[in-house]
Subunit: 306 residues, 2 copies
């Protein structure tokens, strides 16, 4: 078996070592133009030339949860495209989102400002029942985030394309229930896949439906959010803050207003990092299953877009 | 039945209204010197005179979890002293502690500094397995905090006076296992009751046993921590940071070094606030049980000290 590795911006050696350890008999190499045909590919942001040459691939394993960039390329006709499921990412998402929600709910920024001003302050606690958190996207990551939030007893709502049932989460589904979901949420957490349907889904007319003084937490893709519309709603006071890990252009350009906006917290696309060992173990298991003709989870539907 | 209310620094009206609603036939009044004998008292930091006069009290209900201040007073001989159990406090503690632990683990302060410097930064993720969190005190609050931390897949350790078993938590007990517990912890969370045995429990020789670059989170009582010893260990670089909600003197004096220490985050005793409606409901239920001769939880053992 031949496995080719083509991951932009990723140090290949530890991945090669891990894959070779998992498949002692296989040839595992970094892809180079003109390389012989491989059976499986481990990829992140590969060039079109890669797929134009490797037309006989059986499995294409994306080392991330989002495959929006991959699906813009012309892919080999018979290849199964597979995304990472969890692989240590869902706990990171739960951490990131819970930290941001608690920070807003408990007004830790306000306390920090008080302390800087030398003030031993009293702030009336916010009411938990009036702090509903809506999670858009209820895949592996969204479900984990929603469940983590229920533990802190926030009212938790979920919205997804198809109907889901998650304990402790009030689930909405499809376009018909989207406005009801937004109006019932004070905090909006985005964990949707990026598809033509979800691009720009957070914009003036949708975000304006969140409860007054609401918050936006975007940990999915920058293109889900119309950035100037967020600024408009913050300026108008309709929204109170945003925590953003992803942006339309990354790295965020130096002149971008998000860098210094007092109500916006930004992080450099770090909410859930691909963990190498977990990912290698998961990909190795799926290659074995594919080779044995067994079913696997995480197969990308190129029509649906994720 | 007569219920007297004697809570320093607490607006009485809403408490009286809630207690009257719970006991329509009872007399519920704010205590004044010379008032007639009551059956039950709802108290927070009452003066000694209160107990010297109200010698016939059957139940004394403290509107907080910690009774250390109360037990310094001479109490009526036959009274049952009762503390609040949870009543909305455990979820607040879980929020406060999880927020602080995640903030340290995910280096959110470092990212914030990078953003202020205009830097789109890369930081190698910390290893979760190397970030064990030890919780001292495994009562209602400590257990809830420990369980909340397990959800984020940190190795969680617990230490308590008597042996406890909590799913997903490696439990240590008693003085004999205290050093083992400390040496196995990188983050130390304090939720102990304040008693003669636990006073000053966080001091140079104990905190120095935490894993290098460790953190202290104190949400119990200020007198658990020898404040100058914490400063020494931070200065030496043995500890990396502390999040403190309680202090030996509160409000924290203006000249105190904690106000401006770059590695110390302080909040004004706000980690878990008494929630009025939940507390009234709990106290009313316990008064009914006591009157009916039924057992209740939360009875304070004055010898043990909590």
């Amino acid at each position: 078996m031949k496995i080719t590795f083509c991951c932009t911006g990723t140090k290949p050696e530890p991945w090669l070592a891990g894959l070779r350890a998992a498949f002692p008999g296989a040839q595992v190499e970094v892809w180079q133009a003109g390389a012989p045909a491989a059976d499986h590919a481990v990829v992140w942001a590969p060039p079109q030339q890669f797929f134009d040459e490797q037309t006989q691939l059986k499995g294409i394993f994306n080392i991330g949860a989002g495959v929006d960039a991959l699906l813009k390329l012309r892919l080999p006709p018979r290849a199964t495209v597979v995304r990472l499921d969890d692989a240590g990412m869902s706990v990171q998402m739960a951490e990131y989102v819970c930290h941001a929600v608690i920070r807003y709910f408990r007004e830790f920024d306000g306390y920090e400002a008080d302390v800087k001003a030398g003030k031993w302050s009293y702030r009336k606690p916010r009411e938990r029942a009036l702090f509903p958190v809506g999670v858009m996207g209820l895949g592996v990551l969204g479900q984990r985030v929603a469940q983590a939030l229920t533990q802190f007893e926030f009212p938790v709502l979920g919205w997804s394309r198809s109907v889901k049932a998650i304990e402790g989460v009030r689930c909405f589904a499809g376009a018909a229930q989207f406005n009801d979901f937004l109006r019932a949420s004070k905090v909006l957490v985005n964990l949707l896949p990026l598809t033509p349907e979800t691009r720009d889904i957070m914009r003036l007319d949708t975000l304006a439906q969140l409860q007054a003084g609401g918050y936006v937490i975007n940990v999915a893709r920058g293109a889900h959010l119309v950035e100037e519309d967020l600024l408009t709603l913050l300026d108008r006071g309709q929204l109170a803050g945003a925590t953003l890990d992803v942006f339309r252009t990354e790295p965020l350009p130096a002149e971008h207003p998000f860098w210094r906006h007092p109500q916006i917290t930004i992080t450099p696309h770090t909410s859930a990092r691909t963990l190498r060992d977990e990912s290698i173990a998961q990909i190795a298991g799926k290659i074995r299953a594919l080779e044995a003709g067994q079913p696997i989870v995480g197969i990308v539907d190129s029509v649906r877009g994720y």
